[in-house]
């Protein structure tokens, strides 16, 4: 999903094929698990003595409906469905999820290019299988995402190894992703950019005491390819005008002062991203606090810190309540400019900066998020958590420190989720 894409596009009809695949795989896995259970049972001598095999698998399903809206006139509705089968005895599990994003936008980036409001549908599915019979576990993952002008898939594997009677767990992971970036209405055979992404992850989780666990992980992401947005045009200014461009300059100001030349965005063709993430979780008598901190750095010069905290309070056996807070702050990439400078080259062309961007998520910004949630356990008295309904909402305020068009954005994200153990 590209919330700030500058295009006018028509909605694509959702194809339920991905959903069909997910449901089929989950059903097949259910039958396989049942067959395994049958295989461990003594063979019956006659049909009348045959006993139904005990199904030791735990099956869960969830449905979520989320909505997003912001002060930049972007709205998203995201229904999703998830299923999982876990068999603790055999150590096997299978998880799958399918979602649809319906995005509509008339953001300032769209309006500044005289484009119409656009609506677009993204479909995404993911599946994961894991086998961990004892201390060593391996998981394989796959995901795919489809938009009319953007295709993406990722495959990966992850290994975990428990040490010291599961007081310490090591993690190693690798994933490869490939994106095909196109233009709406143009076949990929005519216009397409390829982007590859290799992700390496290593981590360790350590039990500190009877109620505390910490973890730390390192992620290295290597991206190769042109990820410039094919719709994003960058206004250019004469040197004296660029120096006086005001923070949050209006569309009218930019239109009145920019040069006639307005090139497309051009980003560097490689990017190396590094993140160190720490996690802390502690269980008190009637509540749980969960903290995480991510420190991020990349070869484009962006340095960021993201802090997330959730404190979950038990309210009897049937309710849990939590406040949620998140704070993200980042520096700009090295090639960030509020107003790019261009000069007439004298031969009819323009002397443009080789690297240029209008992606404000690459500029200096901070985002403060505050929210809350409640989970109601509506299962039977013997196991209230078997069925649950969750409601949660977050308000996100972003301050853009050095941008045209916008100085801030306020967004609201709300979600309702139903979970059931089948």
């Amino acid at each position: 999903m590209q919330l700030t894409r500058e295009s006018s596009s028509r909605p694509a009809s959702p194809v339920p094929f991905s959903l069909f695949v997910v449901v089929t795989l989950v059903c097949a896995a259910t039958r396989a698990a049942s067959a395994d259970d049958a295989g461990t049972t003594a063979a019956p001598t006659t049909p009348t003595e045959r006993k139904a095999p005990k199904d030791t698998a735990t099956k869960r399903a969830s449905v979520e409906m989320a909505t997003y809206g912001d002060s930049d006139h972007v709205g998203v509705v995201t229904p999703s469905v998830g299923m999982s089968i876990d068999n603790v005895i055999t150590g096997a599990s299978l998880r799958a999820r399918y979602l649809v994003d319906v995005v509509s936008g008339a953001s300032v980036d769209v309006v500044s290019t005289a484009s119409r409001r656009w609506t677009e549908i993204r479909q995404a599915g993911s599946i994961e299988g894991e086998y961990k019979p004892r201390d060593f576990g391996i998981a394989v993952t796959g995901s795919a995402s489809n938009e009319p002008d953007y295709l993406s898939y990722t495959v990966g594997a992850r290994m975990t190894y428990d040490l010291d009677a599961k007081n310490t767990t090591l993690l190693l992971g690798y994933a490869y992703g490939h994106d095909t970036i196109g233009r709406h209405g143009t076949p990929f055979a005519v216009f397409a950019r390829e982007l590859s992404r290799a992700t390496y992850a290593a981590g360790v989780t350590q039990v500190i005491d009877r109620a505390t666990v910490i973890g730390v992980a390192l992620d290295v992401v290597i991206e190769n390819g042109d990820q410039s947005k094919p719709y994003r045009y960058i206004p250019m200014f004469a040197p004296a005008v660029a120096a006086s461009a005001p923070l949050g300059a209006s569309i009218d100001w930019v239109t009145a002062h920019r040069l006639p030349e307005r090139p497309l965005e051009q980003l560097p063709l490689t990017r190396r991203r590094f993140a160190v993430t720490g996690r802390f979780a502690h269980r008190f008598d009637g509540s749980t606090v969960r903290l995480s901190e991510r420190i991020y750095d990349d070869t484009w010069g962006l340095v960021a810190s993201t802090t997330d905290m959730r404190w979950i309070f038990d309210v009897g056996r049937r309710f849990a309540l939590w406040p949620h807070a998140r704070f993200h702050v980042q520096s700009p990439v090295t090639f960030w400019e509020r107003a790019y400078v261009s000069r007439n080259a004298g031969n009819g062309g323009w002397d443009l900066p080789e690297i240029r961007t209008g992606d404000r998520e690459l500029g200096p910004l901070w985002t403060a998020t505050g929210g809350a949630g409640v989970r109601m356990f509506v299962g039977a008295d013997a196991d209230p958590r078997a069925w649950a309904i969750s409601l949660q909402g977050d308000v996100m305020y972003t301050s853009y420190q050095d941008d045209l068009y916008l100085t801030s954005r306020t967004a609201v994200l709300g979600a309702v989720m139903f979970e059931a153990e089948l």
């Binding site: 009877r210 340095v303 690459l362």
Partner: protein, 70 residues
């Protein structure tokens, strides 16, 4: 300077916590196994919104790296 400070701070915090570890027997992990220690509270939409709003990425695999709870 800022990068060095951030990484050194993280390293010191990690070492301080790791040095405080005590071995916890499997029968003594009731609190570690509590659902609130491991349940997912961010749905798929929330994760995607954060990915779009923030220029940083990473940390997703940490939730899969164990809980010491069983």
């Amino acid at each position: 300077m800022m990068r060095s400070f951030l990484f050194c701070s993280g390293l010191v915090a990690l070492l301080a916590l790791a040095s405080a570890c005590t071995h916890v027997a499997p029968y003594d992990r009731g609190k570690l196994a509590h659902p609130t220690m491991t349940d997912e509270y961010d749905g798929p939409a929330s994760g995607h919104v954060h990915a779009v709003h923030e220029g940083a990425t990473g940390g997703g695999a940490l939730g899969e790296s164990g809980c010491g709870c069983n």
